[in-house]
Amino acid sequence: MLRWIHKVLALFVILPLMALVISGSMLSVMPAWDRAGAIAPDRISVAVLAGRVANVHPGIAELKRLPSGKVVAFFSGSDGPAASVVNPSSGAPVSDYVRSRFERWITNLHRSFLLGDSGRMVAGAVALAMLVLTLSGLQMTARRMGGWRHVLGRARGDGVQRIHTDLGRLAALGLLLSTLTASYLSLTTFGLIPDGASQAPAFPSVTSGGPALPIEQIAALRAIDLSQLRELTFPNPANPSDLFHLITAAGEGYIEPLKGQILAWQDHSIARQIYETIYMLHTGQGLWWLGLLLGVSALGVPVLGLTGLGMWWSRRRAHAPITDNTSAGQADTVILVGSEGGSTWGFARTLHAALTSNGHRVHTAAMDGLLRSYPSARRMFLLTATYGDGAAPGTAGTFLKRLDEIERPPSFPVAVLGFGDRQFPQFCKFSRDVAAALASKGWASLMPLETIDRQSAQEFARWGEALSEVLDERLMLSHVPDRPRTHTLTLTERLDYGAEVQAPTSVLRFALPGRGVFAHLTGRGWPRFAAGDLIAVLPPDCDLPRYYSLASSTGDGFIEICVRKHAGGLCSGFLHGLQPGDSIEAFVKANPAFRPARGRKPVILIGAGTGIGPLAGFIRANAARRPMHLYFGGRDPASDFLYGCEIAGWLDDKRLSSLATVFSRVKDGGYVQDRLRKDADRLRALIADGAQIMVCGGRDMAAGVMEAIADVLAPAGLTPLALKVQGRFVEDVY
């Protein structure tokens, strides 16, 4: 619901909103600009100032002090009303006071789209819409991050989503202030909230005659400091009973020009003070730095709009309708989907198609569409992602409640397949909750709960094999996630290790594909990448890409990966068979979660076997020489000490601060986690210093490292989970 409101509202107001934020950010620099041009006067009274200006400008009608501190004299020019900025020290004009035609145009565009009152109403409504967008966006971020307490935590997800979340959080405060104040101003414009506009006291009538005092001697004006002045209107010389009209920060009143006394005075109402404060907060007039901040926040909106559109578009594509969907009543197989971003629907579609081609009548729907009964069903599949910190995804929000309302378990068994990302602390939590709820309600199980990490097509295919056995029919689940166009990469160099210890591993280096200008402009070139990103390799005659962590960055000028040959491994076998000059088809997938945090805090790199690949890439890119400490585990230093030579060089040139190696097939050998425990004191000191831990390796090794780190952290009252939440414990596990 929240997402629907956010999306529909955004699509509806995006164009007028762009006009408002762009004009608004242009206006936001004006207060700073004005301020820079203001001449700071000495402390003088309004009487002194008015006297000086009147000497230079006998026809003066009005004197104003602007929020920027500029003093402006208003008078009648030869062709209409005119005004000059004056130097308060001399009263002499400094420059004409004219708002340029362009500035006025921008202001009117911002207020009313140049359409008068109806435009003002639209502008007010758009500001209100932006307020709702900001609040709903923050609420979604909080939900995704696992609660308001974590709303400032590290955003996860793919590039576009991360930009949208990060920028949204950054701009939120400014946007909240801008839109709240804009809504208020809009309401006062239409008189729905009182703004306490000028409530001058009744105009007193005067009868006394005689010569007027020189302005400098008017006591009421001598008593007021220039900094308090808002406006002073001079008596009309053609009207002998006219008076000075004075407005200060505190109130307004009339001053009699013959004796110089205040005849009537009225303090400003609370409503007016509120209005003036809110006007200042919205325009930054008198608070130039706030104006600039608001302007910068507003500039985030076009980017938010574009990234939001991108997210909307990719979701829309993922939500293409299911073909051959059987009705719920007639289906023998029911597939229910819990999806947030839409990718789980893609897997459901593959399962749907495979089962349909085997002759099943399949019904696929959202988990929120769970019915009380499926009369013809023989089996049910629940494919679900997890949202944020373990919550239900968008299409499964009411599933558990609906499940609870079904009293008797059905006659058919059910299988749960969870989709998630192991980088999240609560990996596939919702699917586990669903499986537990089903079990407690007495639903029969078709297959045990299985989980798919990061949309792995291989894991999904493996689950399909298990399903084939359960159903006793041949089922091929080859899910092809949407994938970008591939590029041809040519191998330039390979270094082989580990053959002697039954772990044949190669470091493969490919040439960067040429980046033609046209390819670059159309976004079809090989993208920028960094160590830790993934490269997807398509083995010949295979649609399923295999992912490897990149061990180099764009700046290195080559593409490097570290591959161990697995017995029977299709892709690793193919890669190991490559000779310099041979080529592969591949594309890059960003993996921004696995990257050293910005800054100069130390980084602890922990890797075993090919897991050293991305870590070596981080060290090679460490031109800033921040402290990096590497823990590497292998089998035998004589055979599989990957990057051994380069590491020696990096230690020399201080890209790498320290190295600890452990090998398992030597005398007194061990694993990297043993070394971590041994170094507990040192590690605790580094972590107290703000260090980030980055782990790369196989699942068993990662589990062992996690345990070791938990032991290391325990005395300090910390857990790996707590560090994970802060983004200070990140893993790339395969």
Partner: protein, 156 residues
């Protein structure tokens, strides 16, 4: 361009019992081509003692800005009821406002004066920008205001 045919509101002192004793008068106000947003203008009448008698036309719809038309504000006490049915849009720089009304014969050649107050955003307030006695002889004679108004004339 604004053109109306209106008997003045009942609340003003300018109405007469029957139209037989009134005549249509066209008030034409042309603004200077100054740099700024549209101006608020108010046309009103004072009696021979200088006291406010009633409003003829208010160009500018937002009452929060009426305080900048200080002559009118002081005379009328800012009474918005005086403006019923005689309010229009503000007038852009260089534009002309033309208003036609039935005015009582008694207003002419009897010491009554027509005033125009003018003001625009970020520019000076100009109360009594124009002050002109209402007389049969003065009809059709254009005059300039103090700053906003290039020419004003009333025609009978």
């Amino acid at each position: 361009m604004k053109s109306i045919l209106a008997a003045l509101a009942m609340t003003t002192a300018l109405t007469v019992p029957g139209l037989a004793m009134a005549r249509p008068v066209t008030l034409t106000t042309t603004l200077n081509n100054y740099d700024g947003n549209g101006a608020y203008l108010v046309l009103y009448v004072t009696d021979p003692t200088g006291a406010y008698k009633g409003t003829l036309w208010m160009a500018g719809s937002r009452s929060k800005y009426y305080s900048h038309l200080s002559g009118w504000q002081r005379g009328s006490g800012g009474n918005l009821a005086d403006l019923n049915g005689i309010t229009g849009a503000s007038v852009g720089a260089g534009r002309t406002l033309k208003v036609t009304l039935d005015l009582a014969d008694a207003l002419f050649d009897a010491g009554y004066k027509l005033h125009i107050d003018a003001a625009a955003e970020d520019l000076r307030d100009s109360p009594s920008e124009v002050v002109v006695p209402l007389s049969s002889a003065g009809a059709g004679r254009p005059m300039a205001g103090r700053s906003y108004i290039r020419s004003f004339a009333y025609d009978m």
